[in-house]
Every structure is written in C-alpha cells, then in structure tokens.
Amino acid sequence: MGSQDSLNLIIAGVGGQGSLFASQVIAQAAIQEGFSVRIAETYGVTQRGGPVYSQVRIGHHVYGPLIPRGRCDLILGLEPIETLRRAADYLAPGGSVAINIRANVPLETRLGRQPDLSFETIREELGRLEVGELLAVDARAMAERAGGAGSMNVFMIGTLFSFDIFPLSYDSVEKALRTVTRPRFLEGNLLSLAKGREYAVSIKAGPDG
C-alpha cells in the first residue's frame, strides 16, 4: 500500500493527452528526491485517440515496472473511460483516483453502436471497486482558466498534491517541470500546476470534504 515512502501510480488517458509527459515529470521529481523509479509504457499502436496508460512505481525499493493487479494506490485519470478501464484491473481497495470528467467518447458510442458510459456510471463502478478518495475535476474548464487547454495534464498533476499518499513535494515537481517542459510552454505549465493544486486543496477543505 502506498505511503510517504512508496507509490504505485497509473496515469490513464488517450493518445495525445500528454500522459507520457506527465509520467516523465513525476519520475524526474522522484529521482530528485532520491527515490527509485520505474515507468512502464505500452509502446504499440498507441496513436492519437487510442488508449494509453503509464505505470509509475516510486519507492526506495522498486522491482519491475509492472504494477500487480489490484495494487495501484493512485490513478491519475486524464480521461474517465480510460480511468475506469485501468481501475478495473489495477485499483487497490481504498485506492485513490483523481479523474477528469470530460470523456473522449468513441465514435461507435456516439453513433449508438456501443452502449454509452456516463460519468455517473463510472463513479458508481469506481465505488464498487472500493475506491477511497475520488476527486472529480472538469480539468479542461479549469486548465483554460489557467494556462490554456493544452496544459490539462499538468493541471491534473497539480491535483495530486491534495492526496496524502502522494510522496513528492511541490518544489520537486515544479523543478522537474522546468527541466522537462519546452520553453514556450513553461509559463503555462507552471500556472496550471499551481492552479491544479489550489483547486484540489480547496475542494477537499470545503464543507463537503
């Protein structure tokens, strides 16, 4: 189980959402803090719009890069359908989820050839999978207020600081962001990271908890 000393994290989304970038930033921050890190990515037919996910393992003692089924402490969900797809196999009982509520709906679904999957159903199923903390965010709307829609992934990274099990400091992640981000996106990204944390912390501190 995750603690301040170790974390099994999955970043789930569709191709083009920047999940690879997000995993690089988090891993870079982890190394800076002296952790050992493993990332597994599926390099395959993962073009724009196809399912992608990164498995990130942080700790002082890590093994192979694959997270065992049912042992993922935290899912960073850039897209809700993909979040449920990974949670089904990997979410640990009591595991946490930060989820962007805006779905990238497959065409087959839009045309009525596949049953739809509403966010309410996704929330229910995550409940059945014994999710612990669930933070639902309209990340696109939030990121637009911050640095532009393109930094949605960084906004979502910011929300992770509101989870106790996330072992990395804001400073490390910000530093890592500076190392990995291309210069013309840096200002937007730094703002998105700050806004993401601000938003998540305020949600959790609010009357609804």
């Binding site: 190394i31 049912g70 497959p106």
Partner: protein
Amino acid sequence: MKKEVLLKDAPGTRVLALGNEAIARGAIEAGVQLVTGYPGTPSTEIMETLIEAAPHLGFTAYWSVNEKVAFDVVTGASFSGVRSMVVMKHVGLNVAADSLQQLKLIDIAGGLVVVSVDDPSGVSSNNEQDNRWYAKFAGLPAIEPTDLNDAREMTKRAFEISEELQMPIILRSVTRLGHMTGDLELGTLEPKREEPYFDSSREWTPFPCLEPERRLKEKFHRSGEVLERYQFDRYEGTGGEKIGIVGAGFAFNYALEAVDTLGLRDKVARLKISTVNPLPSKIIHRLLSHVNHVLVVEDVTPFLEEAIKAEAQEIQRPICIYGRKSGALPEVGETILDDVVGALADIVQREYPEMAVPKEVLPSTERAEQAEAVKKLIPRRQIGFCAGCSHRATYYAFIKALQNVGIEDPIILGDIGCYALGFYPPFSILQTMTSMGASVGTASALAQLHPDRKVIAFIGDSTFYHAGMPGLLQIGHQQTPVLVIVMDNSVTGSTGQQPHPGTWQLADGQMVVPIEDIAQSYKIPYVKVVRSLQVKRLIKELEEALTLDVPAVVISRQACALEPGERWRKRTIVGKIDLTKCDGCLVCVEEFGCPAFIAAEEEGKIAIDPVLCNGCASCRVVCPQGAIYFERLEQ
C-alpha cells in the same frame, strides 16, 4: 540530442533512462566504434540513441538493410580489431543466424556484442521466441541484465569479455526492460579507440571446420570462469532456507517482488542468474545444496529450469524444481507477478503446512471476476491508421478497384508493418502474414497453384528492401502473374520512421535506390508508381493492374503522415462536411474510417475534427453525397 545526459562524462550521476538507453550508454562507455542493426520493436531505441550520439563522440552508427547485412557489417569490424555491436529484436536473430553460426568459429580481433531484445508475449511481434536458446545452439557465451544499471554495466563489460575469449557474446534483453524507464547511474567513459587493422595473412574462415569446432568448444569451456569474475549472478540467503527462488535476468525482479509480497525473505533464498550461457553451475549448486524446492522464474521458456533440473540430478539431492515446465507457471506468455506469488505460496504451503499465508497478499479470483464484469461496460476504441496515412488511401482504392473490375475471389497476402492493420476494420482485407518479406514468395506459389484466382501481395517499402527482393527476383525469373503492391511511405514506419535505401532524405554521399528501378531490373514487365493520396487515379491504376496476366508491381507512394517534415502543421487545407448534404449513411466511417471523422452536433451525422485532420484530402471521393469539401487554412 534527446538525452544529452547519455553523453556525459560524469560517473555516479543518476539520470532517468530507458532500459534500451542504458544498453546504449554501456556501449558508449566501452568505446564502441561501430554499431548497426535493423529497426525492430522493442530494440529500436538502442540504435536511435547511438545514432544521435555517434557524431558527438566520434564513432559510427547507422541502420542496415536487414539483420544479416548488419551482422556481416560488424563481422568486418571484428576482423579489424575494433569494438562493434549489432542490435535487433528476437526475430532479427533468425535473419542473422547464418552469419552468427559461421563467425563463432573464427577467432575475432575486435570485441563484438550481439544484442537481442526478445518480446515475451509477442507484444509487438508475431511470436515470442526465447533467444537464449541461440546461445546454447551456437555454443556462445550470453548474459542477461536484471535492471538498468545491470544493462549498462553488462553491455560495457561484454566487449572486454568478447575480446578475451575472441568470440562474439550475446546480450539478451526483453521488452519490459528495454521499454522500462528507471533511474540509471552513469559509469565511467573508457574510450578505447583502436586503429582498424585487417591482417591479410590470416584466413578468416572456419573452413575446414573440425579444428575450429574443437577450438570453439575449448574457448566455451573457458568462458565460464571468465564470466564468473564479473559476478553478474548473485546469491541471497543464509544457507538454511528450505525453499529457493531463481530469477533469470529481468525475471529476477518478479522473483524478488513475489518473495517480498509474501514477506518470506527468511524462508526463501534468492538467486539472480544473469549468466545465460554457459550455466553458472557453482552458484547454482550453492543454492541447491540446502533447499528442498526451487521455483524458477524466467521468460519465456523453461531454458534455465531444465538446466537446473540436470544440476540437481548431478548432486543427487531430492529437490523439487518448479517452473514453466513443471506446470507451476504458465507455459506461454511473459511472467506475471500474480502467477509467481501463487506458485511460491503453494510451495511454501507444501514445505510448511502449518503456516498460514495471508489471504490479502494472494491474487484474488473474486477481484479478477469483478474486473471482467466492469470491463464489459467499457466501450472499445478502434485502432487504425493515423489521419493522413497513405495505407488507408491505398486499401480504400484497392477495394474499390476489386469491386469495379468484378474480382470475386482474390488471394490477398500481407506482410509486416503498419499496413498489417489491413487485417482490421474497416478494410479487413488481408488473408496472410508470416515473416518479413514472405508475402512475395508465398504469392508466387499461390498464383501457380491457383491459376484461376487473382493473387495480390502487399508489402511495405522497408520490408521490401529487407527481405522482399529475392522473392520478387524469383517472380521476375519465373514470370509468375502476381500483382505486388508496395506500400511505400518512404521510411521504416511502424518502428518510428527510420530511414532506408528508399528514403528521400539523403545523408551526405548516399544514393536513393528506388524500388521501381529494382523491379524493372528484375524483368517485371509492368511497374508503376502512383501517389497514394490521389485516390481516384490510384483506383484506375489498380483496376488496370488487376486485369493483367503478367507479373506487376504497383508502388503506392506517399510519405508517412508522422514523418517530421510531413506533420499536419504543414497542411494548407482542412476537411469539412456540409451537413446539408450529409444524410448519415456512414459510408465514410465504414469504408474509409479516418480518425478525424467524428460525430457531428446534428445526431447521426459526421463531422471532421479540425485538429486531427491532416489535410491530405484522400477522403475527397469517399462521400456518395459529395458532402466532403476543403477550406484553405488561415496562415
């Protein structure tokens, strides 16, 4: 340079790197002078890293046409006393094997490392072969790293081992290591720049072979103690444990995690075996001397399990050996941690029946069933060609041409590359796919056996250069009436757009060798080049080619949509759909299937996503209502 850190002379620095980059770094640290290979997932990044690094560090790295040529190239380096490395995926070694089996019999002068990155479960391959057997088959030393630091260190040391033994050495890796990102500690750069020297007074040949075979055996017998010096293997235990677990190479990570998941370090001794061949008997005996059970964890055949069984036999201790052969672990597919945990828990119960293994740590069938139930609710996402891909245009045109000419029962062969997606909807047109370049040769026999059916072979440009040429030569020689359609996107696409002899972007002094020139020189009477995106014209060309009774080659050519120079940022137009004309027939989605086709606001109709649209305009002819049009983009 994607990773400047990999060039740094700063031993001890911790960097984030891929397993493949760690291997590249190891070669750099050893002062390698010549590196070559052929693109193949999961090995490609090793060469890509070295090709980028080469000009900065003054060594040579380039892609070869195929793995046999690549192996022959490094053979020249090994004859010249310079350090070289050849890189491939597991099936690549099949292609290079002939050369490997000959070179092993010659006392080489420069260290040669053969890197084979295997693909357990065939994640990106047509099979999951275990290339450790090649080492045993050839009688060559082989090693397999467990993590990134291992990968770097072992690659580096492999060169000096190869030079001491005057033999090529095989370094075996796997997908999960090659494509794993982790923390890597850099080692020291030890540049070794020998001046190439080729001794013409020697006979660099194994013929006649009996004496070389004897010498090979003798060197192989010595290789065990040479490898032992490097301590790639590790024993962890007190000598009192009744159970042992052995992890081969990367699989040791699963072995260790299984032990820790069950909290059994005090009861289970652990053995990391990174020396693949010859078997490191001494350290294995150290484990076998005190245990009653041994679980062997390895990918992807019981290579080590069988060898350990033989060792146990020799020392005549009654030990139970478990693994893929015994049935304790699945026979096929990559190692899954849960299976190892389950197998180890079973063994522990056997030895300690009174011990209760905590239920929470065991894989749960209820949880697995729940996962399946949830996944049933989740919509699938179609995989297919990228927006702007030439293969989509070619398959679309081909199917139209088949219909227009009225060919009812064609035999259609496929080959290896992105165009293999022709097996899937919306085209679902391919009927065969075996090894690289096989479509051409197989097509010739099918045309001969079934003269009343039209036979068409699809092959990619890189695949053609790699292995299709001899097959086409045979067709030209025998004049078999096969239609070969070359899917020419100017690069080796599916592995990440690497160059080949047909790539239009030239490096200094190089020449393009066009496929049409090759086909003509092979006496193919009908050779045409057509631009893939000009779909109307391509349909006409294919209609004509399909009616021929002679061998024919049609080259459908358009640069890969992901080629840096071709990226959609360069587009000047964007596609749009006139919703007044669209009647929701969905022919565009069902027959063409571009990912830029999305659901329109108006229900049942289709729109074009302006962000995804590549501006290739190959969809122009697709809509029966003519609802697709194009607009110039604001600059």
